[in-house]
């Protein structure tokens, strides 16, 4: 039993964080809001150059062959920076799924940073950044995990993509309109159900890491603000109500972290057909969504009028949270999945040596 990242994992996360501090500061993110594709020019190549794009691509295809657990801290760093790139589909969802479906030809381009992926996952009513992406995928099913799984490599010629606005200006949404069945959208990938499930779970864990990073960013902004901002002759951070708001935000974040790490570990270490993995992934998304929502709420209230303007940076991260907290199932939805496993299903009701 050892519940800590390795030094290498920590360093990799820090390296991604350092790069993003330079390449994806708030000004760059603002610029992405008004750019054509909502992305930051050249950022993806830089991330690919340091290995992020191919993190989970096997070495034989030019990737680093790392695990979801190895990817966790880099994903948190992406969340912290509010990276407006398709990291989760490209890094975590697509490679394993394409490999399981025998579509290895996409792996090298992904690792090289030449191919990025936009994926409509679970209940997504749209693609994010489809225009700028090279591959479009549909993964999952809508609202009901018990239905047959399905993964589709979308054929752009068979789909009309209509733009949809988002509260987050860096998210370019397009709603796809095509034939009735999902299969009509393109080529159905030949992958076993549990591989699709794990691809979804990797997506959930990646999303959870982004949310943790966003939460951390908002909390950092808030702590700095309340130490700096003076009212009534003292820093507002000296008022007990503000202290308790910040403590509540930190509590939510600190409790969520190990839940997310555990899910990343399970995806990396348990058999792909172990039903516990989905429970761990749902718990991760539930806690990360709630933690980020709590940090967003406390951050805005502690910033008050100063945070209530797009001239201040907070909104860049807060609005991302509003979108991600409800994408791919919100906290309540994932709690229902956990409840099905724990209350009605056969999820072990007590820790045992064989079950983390």
């Amino acid at each position: 039993m050892r519940f800590a990242f390795t030094d290498e994992q920590v360093e990799l996360g820090a390296a991604v964080g350092d790069l993003l501090a330079n390449r994806c500061p708030p000004e760059a993110l603002r610029a992405a809001w008004s750019s054509d594709d909502g992305r930051i020019p050249g950022l993806w190549s830089s991330l690919a150059a340091m290995g992020l794009a191919g993190l989970c691509v096997p070495e034989v295809h030019g990737g680093l062959g790392m695990s979801v657990l190895d990817a966790a801290l880099p994903m948190v760093a992406c969340g912290y920076a509010g990276v407006p790139e398709p990291v989760v589909p490209t890094v975590l969802i697509a490679p394993g799924l394409l490999a399981a479906a025998g579509r290895h030809e996409h792996l090298s381009p992904i690792a090289a940073g030449d191919t990025t992926v936009s994926a409509a996952v679970l209940d997504d009513p749209w693609f994010v950044g489809a225009d700028a992406a090279d591959l479009l995928m549909l993964v999952g099913h809508r609202r009901d995990r018990e239905m047959a799984r399905l993964a589709v490599l979308v054929d752009r010629d068979r789909v009309d993509l209509e733009p949809v606005p988002s509260v987050d200006g860096a998210r370019r949404l397009t709603r796809g309109v095509a034939g009735r069945g999902l299969g009509d959208w393109g080529e159905v990938l030949d992958a076993p159900d549990h591989e699709i499930d794990r691809a979804l779970d990797r997506g959930l864990v990646g999303m959870s890491c982004l949310l943790l990073g966003l939460a951390e960013r908002m909390l950092d902004l808030t702590v700095a603000h309340v130490q700096d901002r003076q009212q009534f002759g003292v820093p507002i951070g000296s008022f007990q109500a503000i202290k308790h708001h910040c403590a509540d935000a930190l509590l939510a974040l600190d409790v969520a972290r190990p839940v997310v790490w555990r899910a990343a570990w399970s995806l990396s270490n348990l058999p792909a057909d172990d039903p516990a993995v989905a429970v761990h992934a749902s718990m991760a998304k539930a806690y990360a969504s709630d933690a980020a929502a709590e940090c967003a709420a406390q951050a805005l209230q502690c910033h008050a009028g100063i945070g209530y303007s797009t001239e201040y940076d907070l909104h860049l991260y807060m609005k991302r949270v509003w979108t991600l907290q409800r994408a791919w199932g919100d906290a309540a939805w994932h709690r229902r999945l956990v409840a099905s496993a724990v209350i009605e299903g056969d999820y072990p009701d007590h820790p045992a040596p064989e079950h983390p």
């Binding site: 749209w126 303007s309 797009t310 909104h315 509003w322 409800r326």
Partner: protein
């Protein structure tokens, strides 16, 4: 206790409903927090004023109907029931006007109220400053007497001024005596034309991206004596009358929330019909509906108290905590119902959510309001 409307009140309701159903624009106007939308909203205000519906609680001589608080609440219910546009004149007609009625000279009332009611002159509130948010007494904008010209010379900066970039006038709190012992003393309440020499207004975006805020820079701005409202150096106490209205009834009447709650119920019905709402969604929706209803009852109780000559006082802080936090819960319930689609509902629920998030912040943060409740209603020690 009599909770059924009197025949007269019911008649007033029917009359208001008939006029509103006939006249409220069928298509939503563009946001009143944008330059273009502001103009469209002002036109609507003129239509209302000319028909006698813009300021129902004002006396008839200023274009109102002398409506009691109860009747005003009825009007508000009907207004929001038919989806009446946002009131961009609100800061004038609901915040400044009560102060003008209480502290203004007859000349000031004559001069300012009719064009304010009609939207011919629009008003913003100039209280907050970069270093005076919750701590309003820290106001640093100064006004120095200029006896030669018979007025005051104002220097300083206001900010978070709602719709300041579109308004003609600002009512502002400025420091006229810097030698006082207590920071609440020595302030004066001024009426400042934003067209004056030395005024620079820079609009900036609120959370939802509309240019709904402004910074107002004041550099040697001359304000004549007859634009002082109330006594010199007593501005804080003059302003407090406005504050109580703002936190209390006039800023957020129940009608607005009843209408939002009804819309939420409609959304919930749609989602239930599609099998896309859970029991928990349903509970959040009914909580919001009940909370709006509870607020309506709460305010009716207050209206009776006021009709009996009572005063809201510090209880207005309870009122403000309730409606502002209820409004956030109500909109959050809608976003949760919409689930992943919430992010794209930028013109309705997501916009409303962002607007609601301002509630616990403006007109005194809810942290300050809770202090006020504890200290002034419950009598806990100030420390």
């Amino acid at each position: 206790m009599d909770l059924i409307e009197s025949p007269d009140d019911a008649g007033f309701r029917r009359q208001a409903r008939a006029w509103l159903e006939e006249n409220v624009p069928k298509l939503p106007l563009p946001s009143g927090d944008t330059r273009q939308g502001f103009v469209a909203h002002i036109e609507w205000e003129r239509t209302m004023y000319d028909a006698g519906w813009a300021v129902v609680s004002w006396p008839p001589e200023f274009g109102g109907r002398g409506a009691t608080t109860s009747r005003w609440l009825i009007f508000e219910e009907e207004y929001y029931r038919v989806g009446g546009p946002q009131r961009v004149t609100q800061n004038g007609i609901f915040l400044l006007a009560p102060t003008l009625f209480e502290f203004g000279t007859a000349e000031q009332q004559q001069r300012f109220l009719p064009p304010m009611g009609r939207g011919d002159e629009t008003w913003c509130q100039g209280w907050s400053e970069p270093n005076a948010g919750s701590d309003l007494a820290a106001i640093a904008t100064t006004a120095v007497a200029d006896q030669d010209r018979g007025g005051w010379v104002v220097n300083g900066q206001k900010t978070w001024t709602t719709r300041g970039a579109f308004c003609d006038w600002m009512f502002a709190l400025v420091r006229t005596d810097t030698t006082v012992d207590r920071p609440h003393q020595g302030m004066t309440y001024l009426l400042i034309p934003l067209t004056s020499d030395g005024v620079t207004v820079r609009g900036f975006e609120r959370l939802d991206g509309d240019e709904g805020f402004a910074e107002v820079f004041l550099e040697d701005v001359f304000v004549p004596d007859d634009q002082v409202l109330g006594e010199v150096n007593r501005g804080w106490y003059v302003a407090m009358a406005t504050t109580t209205s703002e936190r209390g009834l006039t800023l957020r009447s129940p009608g607005r929330f009843s209408a939002s709650a009804r819309d939420l119920v409609v959304l919930c019905r749609e989602r239930l019909a599609e099998g896309r709402a859970t029991d928990q969604d349903r509970d959040a929706v009914i909580r919001a509906w009940m909370d709006a209803e509870a607020y309506r009852l709460y305010v009716q109780q207050t209206a009776t108290k006021m009709a009996d000559g009572g005063d809201i006082g510090a209880e207005s802080s309870l009122n403000k905590i309730w409606w502002s936090e209820m409004d956030v819960r109500l909109h959050r319930a809608a976003l949760d119902l919409l689930g992943p689609e919430a992010e794209a509902d930028v013109d309705r629920w997501m916009k409303g959510y962002q607007f609601a998030l301002a509630g616990p912040i403006y007109a005194g943060t809810n942290e300050i309001q809770r202090n006020v409740v504890a200290e002034r209603v419950l009598g806990l020690p100030r420390r």
